[in-house]
């Protein structure tokens, strides 16, 4: 089943093309890495895939939902882990909000978050991941993850598709998709 489909999506701000048009298709259990020339493009491409930022042209679908027209429904199917030191305030309050927004039982959300934190350890990225993965999702989008994070999350959520955005200086929007879960399935 296709969980993410991006068709010629780009991002333009103030006349400057920050993300060149790219295509991507990801099915359940697959893993892909999107390389960008700089950190800004890497962050933006991940945010486009996670429905956090709307593409200027082109379209992105998460499941059957268009991220531009049905952003709220699309966000329900994705867990987006930001690389920035997320200003999410007190963890308990942030988790309460996510649990309510995703219509989860608070205890269940806390159990899932603790599962991620015990797997990834302490730190801002683990905290971001714990918040994002407090709900069950078929797509995980990771913004510039540290080494080992993808493998750990793949073990935690074997059925979810994982998309990572990375910076590869000198590389212009090349896509390296790979099926990495043959052994797990």
């Amino acid at each position: 089943m296709t969980v993410l489909r991006i068709l010629r999506a780009n991002f333009v701000r103030a006349g400057e093309e920050l993300v060149a048009p790219f295509d991507l298709e990801l099915r359940c259990g697959e893993r892909a890495t999107h390389f960008s020339a700089d950190a800004r493009a890497a962050a933006l491409s991940a945010r486009i895939a996670a429905a956090v930022v709307k593409p200027t042209t082109g379209t992105a679908y998460i499941g059957d939902f268009d991220t531009h027209l049905q952003a709220a429904q699309a966000k329900r199917c994705v867990a987006f882990v930001s690389a920035s030191a997320r200003e999410s305030g007190t963890f308990a309050l942030a988790l309460d909000f996510y649990a309510a927004a995703f219509r989860l039982d608070r205890a269940e959300a806390l159990r899932r978050a603790n599962e991620v934190i015990s797997a990834l350890g302490a730190g801002a990225y683990a905290r971001n991941a714990a918040l994002a993965l407090c709900h069950d999702t078929s797509l995980i989008v990771l913004e510039r993850p540290a080494p080992g994070v993808v493998e750990t999350l793949a073990l935690l959520r074997p059925r979810a598709a994982i998309l990572c955005s990375h910076v590869a200086p000198g590389t212009l929007e090349t896509l390296a998709g790979e099926r990495a879960f043959e052994a797990l399935r």
Binding site: E87, G89, A101
Partner: protein, 204 residues
Amino acid sequence: MNARTLTALARWHLGRLTTFDALAACALGFLLGLVCAWSPFGERTAVALVAFSGAVFAIAFASSPGAVRSTRSLFLFSAPLYGRELARGLAVAPCLLAVLFPLAACAGWSLERQTHASNWLLPLVCALVAALIALSATLRESWRAALYRTLALCTAAGLAALSLRSHDDAASHVAVALLALPLGFFALRAFGETLARYDPLTDI
């Protein structure tokens, strides 16, 4: 959006705003109320003065650097909510903080002089409308943000002036309420629309 989500978002937002600002608003409001009560001003003038100062505080709260950081947080935009739903949740904390100043001023005034609670509805309404209009400034930069703050202040001043011009208290309350309700509603809608179109790029 259910009540649980609204409450959780309001609590999260309130937790990120500084308690010092809230305490300062209470203290200054109380002081202004006392000073007005000791001065030869009539209640009507005092109420108008508090309404205007309260609007200034409400704008300062709603578009403070902390509120701006909080409103633009990437964390919010990953949640499966529409812009209008986020707007409702994000409006609760600034509105709660905005009413502190007029309430404290009313308390200060009523220590020294007798008053009717209904007379102090005007500062509350002005502070709420100003806070709701100023919310849109949090997602804008430079002169556009300044324009929204100015609009908020002018609206509050207009409501206060309208109340001052009227000789009939009941009629002025009704007139202010009739104007304030749609103004607040449209300000919140506009904030929701801005949130729906906003792309969180500040941290990259």
